[in-house]
Symmetry: C2
Subunit: 645 residues, 2 copies
């Protein structure tokens, strides 16, 4: 990496050649302009500055670099090819096919339930690596959504099994394969229609499997134990209900030193907390408590009989590591107490790799000795944007539409910002569950595009409304059965604030978002047609009835059961209210928010004599990556340049 001084010399030379930059003198801020490529879309610039990010792993309790010592493959290795499961028992052994009738209709060993309920994989190795559990999903009864591949000589039909809210969903079962005997045993689940089998965990003794089953209505979660040898149901250890919805996202986690006890996650007291239970189903105690959420179990320190967790106890904008003594419940902060921390615990639980960022630190790594809290700095990134004309990143809070809840915002201001000028301002919004935009990471978690826009003379404003993550159950569930409604009220509080600022040009307000944020963008445009002059909505949900069963019904119920909610939130009947300039963008092969959303809205606009704009990325899915992301963000930027500036 070049030193700052070296870069300045380089810049001076470049100026002589191109006249593109201001002469750079020591003490005068250099003014290099960002290109979209500089901003490294699809990744974050400062991650490119610390390539170690993804290449460190624990070999026992020694941290090693993967490029010096690769992560060894664990055998038996189990994997999938074209919807079937394969196994390779040792490096020398041949691959062996475990299932044979896998198709796009019968899927083995893959993530199910459209990755909801924290599901990200479909194969679960037993602790002794002698068996594995796997998902089998029968989606033959699910309607095909007709996606099209337009890249072949003649375009090809490439259907996607997509169960829409209120429609027939797939059937999931769980099998257990015994690697030695080569026998497969399916859990004795009975009729699996409309049942979600989530958060699979092995018992430490390898003899049973724990599953959290959720009903189709998603208001009940049962923790069930099944025999790993004959698949029989052994016990129901816990049942949790909620008048809105339950949403288990973490498997139970056994104490390494006591296989009769485990930690269970629940949001039942209003926040995600850990509960100590035994295998008889007895609740021993609530281990964590308070107005904050537990985000992750990093692992256990056997020596101190503690669990290492990550929480936002210190601030809703932070996440920090704590060790929690299982017996006493005492929490000890392990990290520096600022910023946003992620990490990995060594295998024996004695050392923690702490990868963190703060508003001023792009990226740093510490190694923390769990017992002593002794901390060694392993790496600290230089500011990768040192030589650029960097915008101003501000963070603040205001009250939600309920008058009491704190909401956090970030504001990005042009590098040459002056209070006396008036700037066109764009509200960037996501607003949906399972996500947040503002935290105490570098530049308050600002996305590169905000920097690009600020450089072009815009203010960008981002606020996490109620319904977003990490703020507790009430904060999240206030949107129940009426997605977008409360979220809009909150966002408009942000807009009120913006309009109170002398340097925000209220006649030049824009809004932009993707996915749920696209839904929010259009919702705001049609509900507040005189507020937003320009909007860009990408991959936008238009009507929740076109969204999938798992996510869709959790928040919105079924179109039949919550007809009023669906009607109220649908944008189809609101097309006529569009007044500002709206650019909609969609990946033509989006299997998440299907192209039908965009097509239906455009047709409604066409019928209502309304004139939105539209752009597509053929072959792209729900999110553009690499070059297409660069093109996309330039496209978005140009739209604001055309109509907001």
């Amino acid at each position: 990496m070049k030193t700052r001084y070296g870069l300045l010399i380089l810049l001076t030379i470049m100026c002589l050649k191109t006249n593109a930059q201001q002469p750079a003198n020591e003490g005068v801020k250099p003014r290099r302009q960002f290109t979209l490529e500089d901003l490294n879309f699809g990744g974050k610039n400062y991650e490119a500055m610390s390539p170690q990010t993804l290449k460190l792993w624990w070999d026992g309790n020694i941290l090693v670099k993967a490029d010096e010592k690769p992560v060894p493959t664990k055998y038996p290795k189990v994997f999938t090819k074209e919807h079937n499961i394969y196994i390779q028992v040792s490096e020398e052994a041949e691959e062996k096919q475990v299932t044979t009738d896998g198709t796009r209709e019968i899927v083995y060993g893959e993530s199910v339930h459209r990755n909801e309920f924290g599901i990200t994989e479909g194969i679960f190795m037993s602790p002794d690596r002698k068996k594995f559990a796997f998902y089998r999903m029968d989606q033959s009864m699910v309607t095909d959504y007709p996606l099209v591949n337009t890249f072949e000589r003649i375009a090809v039909y490439e259907p996607e099994k997509y169960p829409m809210a209120g429609m027939t969903s797939h059937k999931v079962s769980v099998g257990i394969y015994d690697i030695e005997t080569e026998n497969t045993t399916y859990l004795d689940l009975g009729d699996t229609i409309d049942r979600y089998f989530t958060n699979i965990a092995w018992a430490p003794d390898n003899n049973s499997l724990y599953i959290i089953e959720v009903n189709r209505k998603q208001n009940e979660a049962k923790l069930d134990q099944y025999s790993a040898s004959n698949g029989k149901h052994l016990a129901t250890l816990n049942t949790e209900t909620d008048e809105k919805y339950v949403e288990p996202q973490h498997p139970i986690s056994f104490l390494p030193w006591d296989s009769s006890k485990f930690l269970m996650w629940s949001q039942k007291d209003g926040y995600w907390h850990l509960y100590l239970m035994n295998t008889k189903g007895k609740l021993i105690k609530q281990l964590t408590k308070g107005p904050f959420v537990v985000m992750e179990i990093m692992g256990y320190c056997v020596d101190t009989k503690s669990v290492i967790i990550r929480t936002n106890e210190l601030s809703p904008l932070q996440s920090n590591f704590f060790s929690v003594n299982i017996r006493s419940g005492k929490r000890v902060l392990l990290d520096n107490g600022v910023g946003v921390h992620r990490g990995k615990l060594s295998e024996d639980g004695s050392r923690l790799l702490d990868s963190y960022t703060t508003p001023d630190v792009p990226r740093a790594y510490n190694i923390i000795e769990v017992k002593t809290k002794k901390t060694t700095e392993y790496f600290r990134s230089k500011n990768p944007w040192e030589e650029y004309a960097v915008p101003h990143y501000r963070q603040g809070s205001l009250k939600a539409a309920d008058g009491k809840t704190d909401l956090y915002y970030r504001m990005v201001l042009p590098p040459d910002f002056e209070e006396t000028k008036k700037y066109p301002t764009v509200v960037y919004v996501y607003g949906g569950p399972h996500a947040h935009n503002i935290d105490a990471s570098w530049h308050w978690n600002s996305r590169s595009w905000e920097t690009y826009m600020a450089q072009k003379g815009y203010i960008v404003y981002v606020m996490d409304n109620r319904g977003s993550e990490n703020r507790g159950k009430e904060f999240e569930q206030v949107t129940f059965h009426q997605m977008g409604q409360v979220e809009m009220l909150d966002q408009m509080k942000g807009v009120d604030y913006l309009r109170s600022l002398p340097y925000v040009d209220s006649d030049r307000l824009g809004v932009h978002g993707w996915s749920f944020g696209g839904f929010m963008t259009i919702s705001l445009m049609v509900n507040y047609p005189d507020v937003f002059k320009v909007g860009v909505a990408g991959g936008a949900v238009i009507d929740w009835k076109y969204y999938e069963v798992m996510y869709g019904e959790r928040y919105m119920g079924t179109p039949e059961g919550n007809a009023r909610g669906y009607e109220k939130t649908s944008l189809l009947s609101r097309a006529k209210d569009l007044k500002g300039r709206l650019l909609m963008i969609h990946g033509m092969n989006d299997p998440v928010v299907l192209p039908q959303h965009a097509m239906q809205f455009l047709d409604a606009c066409n019928k209502a004599d309304v004139y939105p704009d539209f752009y597509v990325y053929p072959g792209e899915g729900h999110n553009m990556k690499g070059h297409m992301s660069v093109h996309l963000h330039e496209k978005i930027t140009r739209y604001f340049e055309d109509y907001l500036k």
Copy 2:
């Protein structure tokens, strides 16, 4: 219909109420502005003024209005439902199903070969109405293009059998159904792969069928006679070849007074003319000759032994009726010798309904006694735009890029046009075969959108380049194997002319076209990136390899056989050269120019860091109609307003 005076009074009253119009005084032109609805997209305003247009028919030789005396249904009535043929022998009889295995793969009684070669129907009743011939098309071997219906609860796959240039095409055969015996006989055609059976005609004695067969290469047309009783091939009466292509578009036509002679159409001398032949296959004589084209046989006058035809002999911009004596070949002009005429001959051939329009006459009907030329005016439309601020419509000609061929143009100028001002100017272009834009009909055949644009302050310029219709074979075939290339050279002659005019703003030139005209629009944008600031291309062909076999291979050969021509004309590799603002528009269910064209071009732009705009009409086909046409034209207009004005 209101008188002009009445309208003026009405206008005056409206002005008092709304202040929207200037006070209208006698002698001062009223200034009512057109809305798109006034301009009646999807139809022509002046046709709305003469509703008789489509409702007149000959009962023998008496002209009657359909709303006073409906056209009687002829029995036996033969029709199709869901790809099968049905018959109803009398008004009282039940419908009877003739074919039973019709599907979207096996199609009975419908137009085949994608409506090329003048084919518009699939059932051909014999003169005595005792038999009918019908097409059977097996397209099971043709690749499906995956169109999608996004209007259902869950979008539905609606594939379209679409044989692309160079790919496997459908197989067509011809059956004959005997209504009395209920027997079906198929013509003995042998292997029908890559053979086009076109222009079916019955012999007057009902015993045989004449078909013009074209080979896949489309450089040979054979006139064949088949037995209607056993399907055997009886004779080949004529074979015509061409080094580029033949394109029969009219069945042979028997003389009513001599069933051993018929008229055959051929372009072999350079223009479409009629040739008198006998059923032995002997050419008796060329009946018409000269540098003009015969457009239509209206029918025959038995008394005078003449055929009534429509030609453009008087001017390439006109079409007029002539009677041609079969024996002497003498042509007699029947109509007033100006404008564009269409019409219908009475059943006995004695009277002609002459529906015509001239640059000054929106629509008029005469009845012409064929023998005496005695003409009676039946209807004359008032000027439907009398009360509007109407643009100026000019017509002229210039030389093509070959320096010798006359090309005709139309120019539409704003109502308040002043020579000393400079106007943004839009070139509207089609440019493909089988069509023309400029003729001697009302306002020189100007489309309503041109009036709308002129009203908004644009000049619109339209020119028929070489390759368009009605100008002879050489004029048409100069584009062979390199579509768009010569057409562009000619269009640029028009642009040179525009740039020579002091009132055309050369810095604000736009271009717009649909279908072939969309192809021309993008071709012009990428080949002359510094000329056109703004373009709008609808339903555009991007690469001829995605177009269908019949039309595509006639003009372009196969992608393998004419690799250079396909490469040269493809716009995919030219995306990088796009510089001006381009809006592409496509009907998402376009079965003619498939959405794949747009998707491929947009992807090429995305990859080349080029930024076109795009809009779609979900559920719409190749051309928008009714309300969607109004929306479309407003969308197009707004794009020029945004970027060209």
